[in-house]
C-alpha cells in the first residue's frame, strides 16, 4: 500500500489530504494552523488523518507540501536582517529602486515608501567592475571587501546577498566574494545574484536575490523543523515542497532558493484545479480561488498553467518564475462602504479578515462584508466549516442595513445584492487580466472554482465571463492540498542570452538548451528521479530587437533537426520566429515587419513523472437528486425572494442534476446554483454548472 500526503497550511486552518494511490480514496483532516511553528499543526493534522484512515505514519510514502512561510515573512516584515554587497557607486540600488511612485498624478503625496529589504547601513560596496560584455574593467579588491564583510559580521546580519553590476554577463567577482564570505561569515546563508537570477537589470536581480536572503533563514528553519518532527513522529517518507511555478522540489532544494516558494500556496490550488478538471475532461480553464481576504485567478491551457516571470507579494515584486496568478483584494471578508463625498458603493480593498471577521461571525466585526451579504441573501447556511462557526443572520442584516441607508435603498437585501454584484465585478476584473487582456476569450475556457467562498460566487462569474461549465471540484476548501499531492518533481534552468537572430544559429541555441536541460536534469536526479523517468521542455523569451518586453514561446527540439551536427538550416529559429509573430499578433493585433527577432533568454524545464493517483468514482444515481435534498430555504435573487432546495453534497450521486435555484452544502464550502442553471454531478465528484437550455 502506498499513500501520498498533501499538506496545505492556510492562515486559519491546516488542511491535510491522504490519498491511497491505488484506489484513489482520500481522507481529509482540518486542524487549526499553529502560527508560531506551523510544523506543529502539520504533524497534528497528519496524525489525525492517519488515525481516520487506520494506517501508521510509516505507511506514508511521500509528503507533499505547499507552504506560506516565505510569503508570510514578506507580508509581515519578519524576515532576516540582510547584508548586501554591491558594486562601488551602486550602494543605493534598493533605495532608488526604479524611481517609480505608484498611483496617478499627485499619487506621490500619499505614497508611503516601504523600507528596503536590505538596510542601507548593512549595504557595502565592492571595489570592482565588470563591463556589459563580461570583461573585467576593474579587478576585485579582495582585501577591501574582506574588511567590509567583517564589519557586517559585527552588525549581526543573518543572511548575505551579493549583487554586482553586470554579473549576469560574468559572475566571477560575485563568486570570489561568496568564497570570502564563507570564511568571514560562517553559517550565514549567501544568495548570489547571478545564481538566483542570471538576468539583466540590476534592481530586479538585486531585489530578487535580497528577497531570497530575507526569507532564507525562516524557511530553512521551518523545513528542518518539519522534517525533524515528521521523522520523530515516525514518518519515513520524503518531504517535497511545492514551488511557485507548480513544480515540486526536495526539501533541501527548496530551502536553498526560497524566493521560488513565494506563491507556493496559490500554485497548489492551480495544480489541484488541473487534477480535478482533467477528471471531468476539461483541459482549458480559468481558476477562481476565493478566500477570506483575497481572490487568486489563473489561466490554464491544456492542463498547463500559464507561467509568469514575476512574483508579486504585497508591495514586493521579484523576478521569480511562478504560476501566473493574479490576486485581487476581494474575498468574503471584504468590507462594503459608501464614501460620503461620492455616495458610490465600494467593496474592499479593506478586509475584516479572520479578526474581527464578518459581522455574522460575532467575533467583534460590525462592518458589512461580502459574507454578511451572502448570509442575508440566504446563500450561506447557518453553519460553516463543519459546524465550527455559527452565523448570526441578524448581525449580518444590521451591518448591511447601514449600507442600504447610506445608498438610500429601501431594503437591506437590495444593498446585499449590490455588494455581491460589485465584488463579483472586482473578481471579473482579475479574470479578464488573465484572459481577455492576454488575448484569450474566456468563452473558450471552463471555470474551476474553489477556496472557501469560490463556489458561492462561481455561477455568477460563469455568467459574467461566459466560461462554461463552472466546475466545483470535490472538497473545494482543501483543493490546494489535492494539488500538492498530485504534482511532480520539477526543476528549471534559465539563462539570459541576448542575441539577434542574425547573430545566432540553430546549433548555438540548441547547444544552450541542452546545456540548460543537463543542469536541470542533474538537479531532478539528485531529488530521486532517475533520468529515464524525466521529461524535458524548452521555452525561449523573444522580442523584436529594441522592445522592452518579451513573449515566451515553447521551443520544440524536433524543429532543430540537423542542428546538432552543424548542418542546421535555421529551421529552428524560423519556427520560433513564426510562433512569436503569431503570439504578438494575437496579443497586440499587429506585427513589426522588417524588425529583427531577438532572443532574450532560454529555459529548460525537467519534470519527473506525474504520480498515478486513481480517481474516485461515485456510484450512478440517475438525474433525480432527491436523496440529497435536505430542506427548502428562501433566497433573494433578481430582486425578490424565491424558494431554493438545499442539498447535502456528500449524498449526491453521479448523474444527479440539481436545478437552480439551489444551495449545495458540504463541510468547508457552499455552492450556489442560480435560477436558469443546473449542476450535474460528475462521476469524479465534481459539480458541473451550466445554463439550462431554452
Amino acid at each position: 500500500m502506498t499513500y501520498r500526503l498533501g499538506v496545505d497550511v492556510g492562515g486559519t486552518f491546516t488542511d491535510v489530504l491522504l490519498i491511497d494511490e491505488r484506489t484513489g480514496l482520500t481522507y481529509r483532516a482540518k486542524t487549526p494552523s499553529t502560527t508560531e511553528d506551523q510544523s506543529v499543526g502539520v504533524l497534528r493534522g497528519i496524525e489525525k488523518v492517519c488515525g481516520e484512515a487506520g494506517i501508521a505514519l510509516a505507511d506514508i510514502t511521500q509528503v507533499l507540501h505547499g507552504t506560506t512561510v516565505a510569503t508570510n515573512a514578506i507580508l509581515e516584515g519578519k524576515g532576516a536582517r540582510v547584508g548586501l554587497v554591491t558594486t562601488r557607486g551602486f550602494r543605493q540600488v534598493l533605495q532608488i529602486a526604479r524611481s517609480f511612485v505608484p498611483g496617478g498624478l499627485a499619487g506621490w503625496i500619499i505614497w508611503p515608501k516601504p523600507e528596503p529589504l536590505a538596510a542601507l547601513e548593512d549595504t557595502v560596496e565592492a571595489t570592482e567592475r565588470i563591463g556589459a560584455d563580461g570583461s573585467v574593467v576593474i579587478p576585485l579588491d579582495a582585501a577591501d571587501i574582506r574588511a567590509k564583510l567583517r564589519a557586517l559580521r559585527q552588525a549581526d546580519v543573518e543572511a548575505l546577498t551579493i549583487s554586482l553590476i553586470n554579473s549576469y554577463a560574468n559572475a566571477a567577482h560575485e563568486r570570489q566574494i561568496a568564497a570570502i564570505a564563507a570564511e568571514e561569515l560562517p553559517g550565514v546563508p549567501v544568495s548570489v545574484s547571478s545564481t538566483v537570477l542570471p538576468e539583466m537589470r540590476e534592481y530586479e536581480r538585486t531585489i530578487t536575490a535580497v528577497a531570497n536572503s530575507y526569507v532564507h533563514p525562516q524557511v530553512s528553519r521551518y523545513i528542518a523543523s518539519l522534517a525533524a518532527k515528521l521523522e520523530d513522529g515516525g514518518v519515513r517518507a520524503g518531504l517535497y515542497i511545492l514551488r511557485s511555478d507548480g513544480g515540486l522540489a526536495s526539501a533541501a532544494n527548496a530551502a536553498d532558493s526560497p524566493v521560488a516558494l513565494l506563491l507556493s500556496g496559490p500554485a497548489g490550488g492551480v495544480a489541484g484545479a488541473a487534477w480535478a478538471a482533467e477528471q471531468v475532461g476539461y483541459r482549458d480553464f480559468l481558476t477562481f480561488d476565493m478566500g477570506g481576504t483575497s481572490t487568486d485567478v489563473a489561466l490554464v491551457q491544456d492542463l498547463q498553467p500559464r507561467i509568469g516571470r514575476q512574483t508579486t507579494v504585497g508591495d514586493l515584486k521579484v523576478r521569480a518564475t511562478s504560476v501566473d496568478v493574479r490576486t485581487v483584494g476581494a474575498g468574503g471578508g471584504s468590507i462594503a462602504h459608501v464614501p460620503p463625498l461620492t455616495r458610490a458603493l465600494r467593496v474592499g480593498p479593506q478586509s475584516a479578515g479572520a479578526v474581527p471577521g464578518p459581522a455574522a461571525y460575532r467575533t467583534g466585526g460590525t462592518e458589512p462584508t461580502v459574507t454578511d451579504a451572502n448570509v442575508l441573501l440566504g446563500y450561506l447556511p447557518a453553519e460553516l466549516a463543519g459546524g465550527e462557526i455559527t452565523l448570526d443572520a441578524q448581525a449580518a442584516r444590521d451591518a448591511v442595513k447601514a449600507v442600504a441607508d447610506a445608498m438610500e435603498l429601501d431594503s437591506a437585501e437590495a444593498a446585499a445584492a449590490g455588494i455581491v454584484d460589485i465584488v463579483n465585478e472586482n473578481m471579473l476584473g482579475a479574470l479578464r487580466l488573465v484572459s481577455v487582456q492576454q488575448g484569450f476569450d474566456p468563452r473558450d475556457f471552463a471555470l474551476v472554482a474553489f477556496g472557501g467562498a469560490g463556489p458561492l460566487h462561481a455561477n455568477a462569474l460563469g455568467k459574467l465571463t461566459g466560461a462554461w461549465p463552472v466546475i466545483i471540484p470535490p472538497s473545494p476548501g482543501v483543493l490546494c492540498a489535492y494539488g500538492d499531492a498530485t504534482t511532480m518533481v520539477r526543476d528549471e534552468a534559465a539563462r539570459t542570452y541576448i542575441r539577434r537572430f542574425d547573430a545566432l544559429s540553430d546549433a548555438e541555441l540548441l547547444g544552450l538548451l541542452h546545456e540548460l536541460a543537463e543542469a536541470a536534469a542533474a538537479t531532478v536526479e539528485a531529488q530521486g528521479v532517475p533520468r529515464k523517468e524525466q521529461s524535458v521542455s524548452y521555452h525561449v523569451d523573444l522580442r523584436y530587437h529594441g522592445q522592452g518586453f518579451e513573449i515566451t514561446v515553447p521551443a520544440a527540439e524536433s524543429d532543430f533537426a540537423g542542428a546538432a551536427d552543424g548542418a542546421g538550416s535555421g529551421a529552428g529559429l524560423a519556427a520560433l520566429a513564426a510562433a512569436f509573430d503569431a503570439e504578438h499578433s494575437r496579443l497586440f493585433s499587429f506585427l513589426l515587419e522588417g524588425n529583427e527577432h531577438e532572443l532574450v533568454s532560454a529555459r529548460a524545464t525537467v519534470s519527473g513523472p506525474r504520480p498515478s493517483v486513481a480517481a474516485v468514482r461515485l456510484p450512478d444515481g440517475g438525474t433525480d437528486p432527491g436523496q440529497a435534498r435536505t430542506r427548502v430555504t428562501r433566497i433573494w435573487v433578481g430582486g425578490g425572494h424565491v424558494d431554493a432546495g438545499v442539498y447535502d453534497r456528500t449524498a449526491l450521486l453521479a448523474g444527479n442534476v440539481v436545478a437552480g435555484p439551489a444551495v449545495i452544502t458540504e463541510m468547508d464550502s457552499t455552492t450556489l446554483v442560480l435560477p436558469g442553471h443546473a449542476a450535474t454531478v460528475h462521476p469524479s465528484g465534481s459539480l458541473l454548472i451550466r445554463p439550462v437550455e431554452g
Binding site: G89, F90, F100, I109, G131, E425, L592
Partner: protein, 623 residues
Amino acid sequence: MAQIIQHAAGHVAAVDVDVVTLDIIENALRNARYEMDEVLFRTALSPGIREQHDEFPLIGDPEGKMVAGQFGLSVPALLGRYDGTIEEGDVLLTSDPYACDAAISHANDWLVVMPIYHGGRVVGWASMFGHMSDVGGKTPSSMPADARTIFEEGVVIPPFKLYRKGELNAEALKIILNQVRMPEWNRADLNGIVAACRTAGRRVQELCDRFGVETYLSALNALLDRNYRAMKTLLTTIFADGETISFTDYICDDGVGYGPYELKLSLTRAGDKVVLDFTGSSPQARGPVNYYINENLVRMFFGIYMITVADPQILWNDGYYPLIDVIIPDESYWKPKYPAALNARNHGIGRVFDLFGGLLGQKNPDLLNAAGFSSSPHFMYSGNYTSPDRKGEWFQLYSIGFGGIPGRPIGDGPDGHSLWPSFVNIPCEYLESYYPMRIERWETVADTGGAGLHRGGNGVDVAYRFLEPGTIAIHDDRWLTYPWGVNGGEPGARGRKWLERADGTVEVLPSKIHDVPVRPGDLLHFVTWGGGGWGDPLARDPGLVALEVRRGLVSADGARRYGVVLTEAGEADAAATARLRAELSAARPAALPLFNMGPPLPEILRRCLDETGLPAPRAPVAS
C-alpha cells in the same frame, strides 16, 4: 469643425442607472485605461516609452470629455479645429500644439485620437499621446535648447487621418518618418499607441453590448455628475467666498540667456465656482521653455490635487470642469504666440505641481508639501560608433532623470524618485548594454534634500563615462532658484552638471544645452536637485538623523542642520545635540516662515556665478 458621420437614427434615451451598474462601468473604464498602458509598454521600441513610460491615455464620452484617464487633454479642441469628416475606422494623428489648443504641448508628443462607434453611432473617443524620442529637426532628440520657433523643432504634423475607414495612409506616414532619425522607433511606438486606442475602443463596445448603449451613455453622464457634485462640495468647504490666494514660483532660464521666468497663479472663489488666473506671469519666453497650457489641463491639475487626498478611489473625469474658470493671458509664458518654440516645456509642466501645491496648501494642510522634483530633466547622447565591429552605426539615447520627492505631511520625501506617475528609470545594465557608456555612480547625494521634520528626498548623481565620441544634450532646471521648504523646512539643494574631460579639465554645463561634443573617457556628472523640507528640522528625531548619517543619506556636517551632533561611534550625542538645538533656536525668528525659498532673488542672481559657475541670466523681456 469636424463633421461626424453617424448612421444610427434617433436619439439615445437617458435612462436611470442604478448605483451598482454605475460602479461596475466605472471599474471597467478604469481597467480599460490601464490596459491601454500595458499594450503600449509591451510593444514600444523607444526607451522613452518602453522603459520610462512617457505616455498618457484617455477614454472620452461622445463629446470627447474625459471619463477615464490621468491627463485630460482636449479631444473637443482638436475636433473643433479639424476641418473634415470623421467616420468609423478613422484614426487622427497630430503633433501640432497650435492646431489643438495645446492638447499636447510640444512637437515630440504624438497624439492619436479615434472615435469609438457602436451600432453606427459615436459612443466615445479613445486617445493617447506619447513622447517620441526623435521627431527630426536640427539636433538629435529634436529639442534644441536655443530654438526660437517651432520650425526648428522637427516635423510638426497637422491633424490628419492616419487611418481612413481603417485603411492606413501609408504615404503620409512615409513622409513623416522620412523626417526623423530613428523611424523604426516612431513606427513601433505609433503602432502601439494606435493598438492601445483600439483596445480601449473594443472595451467600450463590449460595455455597450453588455449594458446597452442607453445605460452606458447614461452611466457616463452620471459619472461626470459624480465628479461635479464631489468637487462642488469640496470647493465650498475649503475656500472662502471672495477670497483670493496666490503663489509664485519660477523657471530658472529659457536656454537663450533670459530668466528667471515668474509663474504666478491666483485662485478666487466666486459662489459655486473658482477662478484660476495666471495673470502676473512672465511674458512668453524667447527660448523653448514656454509651456502652452490647455485650460482643461489646468482644471485637471487642480482637480487631482483637490481630490487625491479627499477620496483617492474616485475615477477621474471632466465632470467638474464647468466649476472652474481659467484665465491665461495671451503672449504669456502659458500661452505663447505662434510660432514660438515649445520643446523644453517639461520644466513648466513639472513646476505646475509646485505651483498648485504652494497655492492650495495654503488652505489645505494635507496638500502642503514642499517643492519637489518638479520636472523631468532630459539627458541625450548620440553619435556614430567608431569601434571596428559597429563602425558607422548610429546610436541615440533619450532619457529622463529623477530627484528628490519633497517632505510631505505624511513623512519624508523618497530619495531619487519620480514625481510623475508610471515613470521609471532606465537600468544601468540596459544602458551599458545598448549604448557605448559606463555608469560609474548612481546614487543620491547626501544633504541635497531640504532639512525638515520630514526630510526632503535627495537628488541623484549619475556619472556617465562615454566610450564613443558623440554629442550630448541636457534639459534641466532649478539650478538657480531653490526647491522651497514649508512650515519651517529648509530648501533642497539645486541641480548641477559638469564634465570631467579625459584630459582632467572640468567644464560646468548650463542646464539647457545641446550638441556638446564628448570624447571617449569624458565623464558627465548629472546631479539632480533635492526636495524641500517639511516642518522644523530641529524637531526631527536625533536617532533618525544619526541613522541616516550611517546610511549615507545625510552627512555628519549635514546633521548639524538638524541640530544633531554625533558621537565618535556615530550615535546622536544627547547633551551636545540639546546645546546645539538651543543655540540654533535662539538665533532664528520665533515664528518659522510658511515658505522658505532661500535667499531673495536679487541675492541669488548676484551670487550666481560664484555659486554655480554659470553667469546669471538676464531679466525676461516681452518679445
